[in-house]
């Protein structure tokens, strides 16, 4: 374990150097884009810094609060991508988890104590996320439906389901606003300390990242998941792995992590359910996981960088009037830059493991309908 930690640290130092380059690239991107759309780039960068890492308040009440759902959904994507599963559905799974947590919190929060209610909310939120992931996973195995498409469809279905619930069965008692009633105090995650917005969800997310790192590296199940992602054919023929079962479990665990993110967001931050609960956490998670090189520990750190970017972008909108949607442009640019750099073999090639999914030229040449399409 010590040896593995040492090797991880060595690899992490390489990644850290790339991150410094990445942060510089992000600053350059933000400055260029704000200048193009007609704002003062120095003012924008100043408020970006001030609102993200510049003050203790910004770190504890904005950046880390924002990083918590990104960490959990980033881990969900990391797990799925490691297994070679294209789960783009973290957004929908997050909403499913949030819905379940609010439903159970409103039902039990008045009578039961916090020690019962909060764990129940988090567990049911995780289960709901897993359930939302089960449908595309099952569809994939039963009918061969590409999970990329089905998980995205499930995101839209989740969004409209929440839209219906907050105007129907779960609407607040006065029936004015499209949102649920606020969770009672016993159904809320406690804050870490008075005077900050950071709640217990953050340490839970960090624990999840440690647990996932350990599970992927040191358990048989984690080994099976990694082999499956590297080469499904070898997984069957050489390692005697039950691909269907491994893939299903990885997909469900990925959904559970995203569901937990939703449950934590409603019990720790918003305290109620509404449609715009997530500003696309489930999609940003893809960038978080890729920048984290699909390593759970690095993904945790990368989620803090993205949390800082999004918190800073919100401050930029408040103070400098720059639309905060700029953050998502930067995020998408980061993914595209990483992909391009990896393929150009320049130092930024942090995504070596991802190469396993991409059929090489010889694979393409020898591909038969059977091996590539997954149909027999």
């Amino acid at each position: 374990m010590i040896e593995a930690l040492r090797r991880s640290a060595l690899r992490a130092s390489g990644v850290l150097i790339r991150w410094i380059i990445l942060v510089a690239a992000v600053a350059a991107l933000v400055a260029t884009m704000t200048a193009i759309v007609g704002y003062d780039p120095w003012v924008a960068l100043g408020s970006l810094w001030h609102g993200s890492l510049g003050t203790q308040y910004a770190v504890l009440s904005a950046t880390l609060v924002r990083a918590t759902p990104l960490m959990l959904t980033g881990l969900a994507v990391t797990l799925a991508f490691t297994a070679g599963l294209m789960n783009i559905g973290a957004e929908g799974q997050l909403l499913a988890g949030a819905t379940a947590a609010v439903a159970v919190g409103l039902a039990t929060g008045q009578s039961a104590s916090r020690l019962v209610t909060v764990p129940l909310e988090l567990v049911l939120g995780g289960l709901a996320g897993a359930l939302w992931a089960f449908i595309p996973a099952w569809w994939r195995q039963r009918f061969g439906v590409l999970e990329v498409i089905s998980t995205i469809m499930m995101n839209f279905v989740a969004l409209y389901l929440v839209g219906y619930l907050v105007r129907g069965p779960l609407q607040e008692p006065l029936h004015i606003y499209p949102q649920s009633e606020g969770l009672p105090a016993a159904a809320r995650l406690p804050l870490l300390a008075a005077g900050m917005r950071l709640h217990w969800g953050f340490p839970i997310a960090v624990l999840c990242s440690l647990a996932l790192w350990w599970a992927l590296r040191f358990t048989a199940a984690g080994f099976r998941i990694r082999v499956l992602g590297m080469n499904p054919d070898a997984a069957v023929s050489a390692a005697q792995i039950d691909v269907r079962r491994t893939a299903m479990r990885a997909f469900l665990a990925s959904g559970a992590l995203a569901g937990l993110a939703g449950a934590i967001e409603v019990t720790g931050v918003t305290y109620s359910l509404y449609e715009n609960l997530s500003p696309g956490y489930g999609y940003t998670a893809i960038a978080v996981a890729l920048v984290g090189a699909l390593n759970p520990l690095l993904t945790a750190v990368s989620s803090i960088l993205f949390g800082a970017l999004e918190a800073g972008a919100a401050a930029m909108q408040r103070d400098a009037g720059v639309p905060s949607v700029l953050a998502s442009v930067v995020e998408a640019s980061i993914i595209l830059l990483l992909l391009a750099f990896r393929e150009l073999r320049v130092p930024g090639s942090v995504l070596r493991r991802l190469r396993a999914w991409r059929p090489t030229a010889s694979d393409r040449a020898s591909a038969t309908g059977d091996s590539m399409s997954g149909r027999s």
Binding site: R140, G144, A247, A340, W357
Partner: protein, 306 residues
């Protein structure tokens, strides 16, 4: 009742047109062995291109701008996945996120966030005399904007091109077996570039059509998953242009149902109808399972074990 049916059919054709355009382009792209997950981004780029220019250059100029925007987006994707051989699905997803972000940023910067919806001139329906007065289906088929007629022409043309021409054969060879294509003297990369750009042009046109022939305004994220639905339509149409067009019609009908139920006064939650196309996609994809294989070299990740 006849009125309800005929306006339902009209709405079906209107909502099916952008889906059919995008799906027809994606059919060609997939026959060349590429899945363009960035199609959603291409469509929103087309919508924004049309919305930003319609007031200045008129409707036909705006359609051109939509196509150009679609082409620009697709070129970026082509550099990544064809030239640099990046993973198709991650690159496509990132392109979609980028296009949604850039259009949102530009929209807020240029048109502000005042909440006043942008009003854009829309293409008037071209009413074909005599034919359009046919009972029930007349107006649905023969009183539509020019883009719908473009679909009528493009679908059989593309179907013929794919199955009956030498170039179409090269395209299919690249999608089924790039090695065999190389042996026959065809460059897979060149064919893939051409196919991808054709898909980009039609994707941009689809986005333009959404703005100029359907809603007459722009909203952030207005493509609302149509790119992903179009990819599902291609699978449902089993990679054949005529069947793809029919599948697009089915999805148009699913979207048009909400107007029909509203006019019939049925009291069902409207979110159910909004979710209907996405649910239909899930069901339809399962329904075609195992009946017909996609192009053998279609790029994808996880392989289902048997």
């Amino acid at each position: 009742m006849t009125d309800a049916i005929s306006s339902f059919l009209e709405a079906t054709m209107r909502t099916a047109t952008p889906l059919a355009l995008a799906a027809l382009g994606e059919t060609i792209v997939e026959r060349a062995g590429i899945v363009n997950i960035g199609l959603e981004g291409v469509i929103i780029a087309g919508s924004f291109g049309a919305a930003a220019t319609a007031g200045v250059v008129g409707i036909s100029g705006a359609f051109t701008a939509a196509v150009m925007a679609g082409l620009a987006c697709t070129a970026l994707l082509g550099i990544l996945i064809i030239t640099l051989r990046a993973e198709q699905i991650v690159a496509g997803t990132a392109l979609t996120l980028l296009a949604l972000g850039v259009t949102g940023l530009l929209y807020r910067t240029i048109f502000g966030t005042t909440g006043v919806a942008l009003t854009i001139p829309t293409a008037k329906p071209l009413v074909i005399p005599v034919l359009s007065s046919a009972p029930v289906v007349g107006r649905a088929v023969f009183a539509q904007p020019a883009t719908t007629y473009a679909v009528y022409v493009l679908v059989p043309l593309v179907a013929w091109w794919v199955s009956r021409t030498r170039a179409g054969l090269s395209l299919r060879a690249v999608g089924e077996s790039p090695a065999a294509a190389v042996a026959a003297g065809v460059s897979p990369d060149r064919i893939r570039w051409l196919a991808l750009m054709f898909g980009g042009a039609l994707g941009g046109l689809s986005g333009g059509c959404l703005v100029l022939a359907q809603v007459g305004t722009f909203a952030e994220g207005m493509s609302a998953g149509r790119g992903f639905i179009a990819i599902a339509i291609v699978a449902l149409g089993r990679w054949a242009p005529l069947r793809v067009a029919l599948a697009a019609l089915l999805f148009g009908a699913a979207s048009a149902l909400q107007f029909a139920f509203q006019s019939l006064g049925w009291n069902l939650p409207y979110q159910l109808f909004l979710a209907l196309p996405y649910l239909l996609t899930l069901v339809a994809l399962a329904g075609i399972a195992g009946r017909h294989a996609p192009p053998a070299a279609l790029g994808r990740g996880w392989v289902r074990s048997s």
